[in-house]
Amino acid sequence: MITSTYVDGVRLLTAPTTGQARGGITFRVGYSDEPFQYTGATHLVEHLALHHLGQTDYHFNGTTAPYMTHFFSQGTPDEVTTFITRVCQALCDLPLDRLDLEKQVLRTEADGRSPSMGEWMRTWRHGVSGQLSEWGLPGMTPAMVADWTRRHFTRENAVVWFAGPEAPPSWSLPLPSGVPLPMPVRREMVDAYPAYFSQGSRTIGWQAIVGRSMAASVYSDVLRRHMFRELRQQHGYSYTVDTDYSPVDAQHASLMCLADSGATTTDAALGGFIDLMTQSRWGGLHADDVASAIGAARRSLDDPDWEALTLPSGCFDLLTGAPTSTREELLAEIELIDDAALHAVAEEAARSALLCVPVGLRADWAGYALAPTSIHGPVEGTEVAPVEPSTQRLVLSAQGITVRTPPASRTVRFDDCAGMLAWPDGARRLVAMDATTIHIEPTLWRLDPGVRAWIDQSIPADKVAWQPARSPDAIPVPAVETVAGASGAGATPVPTSGTPGRGPGTTGTPVAPVRQPTVMMGVWIFLLVVSIVWLAWTISGWVYDPNAGLGLTVLGVPIWMATIWVSLAYRKRLRAWKQSVPRKPTDRRR
């Protein structure tokens, strides 16, 4: 039986279990709650809170999820309760002196991490809030970390759980008081379901958001059995097939299916997968699968450890405000599951189905609409050309910025911008709420220097995340560059039609295009020929008629001076041009 009490004002759920004790503390804060400058703060706090524990003889861990941060331990009852107490103590006094070191650890962790299918799904569905991003880390100060911890790692925003052979000994949970954090409103970025997107090379993913129910959980298991038989056993298109049913808030759960595929059978795996989902929706479900899935659900409830096993999800329910169900209520719910109930789940799932297909494949043929990469249409404004010849254009407007790569385009509107990454060398990356990013490298675009200031003014300062300085070889150089390069020559002025205060107005007067080395060479050769001819003429003048020679010399001086001047200028520009020509591919490796 699950008991609910309070310890030091923190809600505590306990249940008896045999074997080792387990326990943890869950806070209702995750990376989906972080404002732009605070991205990475929750994960950083989780790391800092566990730092002082060092290496122990018992198992412990921490996880940062979209809406929850969880600290977990397994060992003797004393070890578990001591762990939770020490986590709470650490949260009250984080070792902020090791902030930079822990940021480095997080960067290393991020470098080795690949985005999961769940993260892809959340990003396509809900935009940047679904992404595990740690853009704010470089600029995160000790005060910001302390502020984030003080606001969200509070006793009102936490639930502790403990499963052990006996009730937990008395313990203290020294957390500050605060306010419960409500669940964020998830914004829908896909306008029509079922939808699909292309990402990754081999894995097919499918996700739907359905109402929380035992029927949906059983349906997930039915799908897994169907997928295993169809995609792996019968045809061998997939090796790994899996499904997952996980609550995402008080009312809804995510229903996710995954199937990998072989290099030469990716299209067949996708076709088989889509047919399987169509058959599960419209055709009959295999009676054996249904019976086995219902049986498995029933057996999981019969597990004597069931209550202890459900404690972590009980914390999630309490923190999200979801109603909790007893074992008897869930058993009664299972008894009502039949083909009609499962088909109702399939129908509901189809209304929010999002499919991930490997890059190069499509799913429009199966009625899935292509999910928009950018929810906003392009803006109209001043066009900026890249330094390298290309049809791509940067369009600057008071409303936002578009990168147009015909026939596609990406847009970040300033009024729907999550934030901006800024590098000291002038590079900027705008991140829209729908997770569209536009990265602007000053070396690659013919930008007026005023544009950067105008962009900076268009984004509120609290949405700017400063990044560390880059080494010169990390800054891209165009493969083909004019002599003027990115110094402003040929640059496009910033838009002047913006609202007052947004753009710098008239800065960036267009400059006449600078002559290319080839043009200069023509001028130089012409002057050289004229100079030589004039010199020969002058010498012959001196030989035959000194008066004529003197006259020719006087007239020839400006010509020779001009030739010398152009020669020197040409030499200088030729040298600059040689430095800017593309290097061999082997030289470009970093």
Partner: protein, 322 residues
């Protein structure tokens, strides 16, 4: 005294004449008579007969009729007829030329129609996974939508589980395996030989060997100056090709076990031409005579802008030399 002249031979290219199922299905569909159409489908002796019948049901009237059936009483049979009709409309929009001859708007409409067709057909497959005609048409959509060789093979494998010798599906698969649809002619040729070897003696399936050789000839002329006629003569005069055609003919139309089932007119016509090209005029003559009044000119599509005239010319030549 006037000489009594023989009336000119007028071949009947209409499949409704040769196949009773095709006639019944076509009549019922064009009369928008659903019970009669269902009855004709149920009376079809084989899946191949029914698929031949479905090929005769297309056009806006038929599509409208099938859509109304799907709205009132959705079922896999109506869905498959509808899918088939939409596929034919898609190909009407596309035309039969090489991909480079298809304009962007044509291509867009073609893909749109095929998407619609595949969705209605996949519904039929989901509701009744054993309904072969729906799967057979999904081979055509897979080809047109370029869903991939492995996906097409998956669909074909499903068909082969239901009917391992379905000629309609085998001809579709043969086409998908061609180089022009993203496959390679060696695999395509091997597929034809494998189907012919596995088929019962006296069946139409060895005709696939002839079709495979036509596809090879077509590929020979694709990027070369060689004319279709020169390439045909050069290819069919090869010793190994002649031997293969003879082997296939003896397993099929020249076998005493050959019966007049679905596709027999196509098989007999295809072998009539192929055997003539191989120089076996007597066997060719036998095929043309066996056809009686019936004819199928699809093999002549490879040779002549007027395939029916080509059929008549080759028939006359075979009757004279054979």
């Amino acid at each position: 005294m006037t000489a009594e002249s023989t009336p000119p031979f007028v071949p009947d290219f209409d499949p409704r004449s040769a196949y009773p199922t095709v006639a019944a299905v076509s009549a019922a569909a064009h009369a928008a008579d659903w019970p009669r159409l269902l009855q004709a489908c149920q009376s079809a002796p084989t899946w191949d007969d029914l698929l031949l019948g479905m090929d005769q049901v297309s056009g806006p009237d038929c599509e409208g009729f099938l859509q109304s059936i799907m709205a009132d009483q959705p079922n896999p049979v109506a869905a498959t007829f509808l899918g088939s009709a939409v596929i034919m409309d898609a190909w009407r929009i596309r035309g039969s030329g090489w991909g480079r001859t298809v304009g962007p708007e044509q291509a867009r409409q073609f893909l749109d129609r095929l998407n619609q067709a595949d969705q209605v057909l996949s519904w039929a497959c989901a509701v009744d996974p054993g309904y072969l005609p729906a799967w057979a048409h999904r081979l055509t959509t897979s080809k047109g939508l370029s869903l991939g060789q492995a996906e097409s093979r998956r669909r074909y494998d499903h068909i082969a589980q239901i009917d391992p010798h379905n000629y309609y599906a085998q001809t579709s698969m043969l086409s998908i395996l061609c180089a022009k649809w993203g496959g390679d002619n060696q695999t395509m040729h091997q597929f034809a030989i494998a189907c012919a070897e596995a088929a019962p003696v006296g069946s139409v399936n060895p005709t696939l060997v002839v079709l495979a050789h036509w596809e090879i000839v077509l590929e020979m002329t694709r990027n070369s100056e060689m004319s279709a006629r020169d390439a045909t003569v050069a290819h069919f005069n090869r010793h190994d090709v002649r031997a293969q055609i003879q082997w296939a003919a003896h397993k099929s139309v020249l076998s005493s076990a050959f019966t007049r089932r679905a596709h027999w007119v196509s098989a007999m016509s295809a072998f009539g031409l192929a055997l003539a090209l191989c120089g076996d005029w007597s066997a060719s003559k036998y095929c043309f005579l066996q056809l009686g009044p019936y004819a199928n000119s699809s093999s002549w599509n490879y040779l002549s802008p007027n395939p029916q005239a080509g059929f008549l010319a080759n028939r006359a030549q075979a009757l004279e030399l054979g």
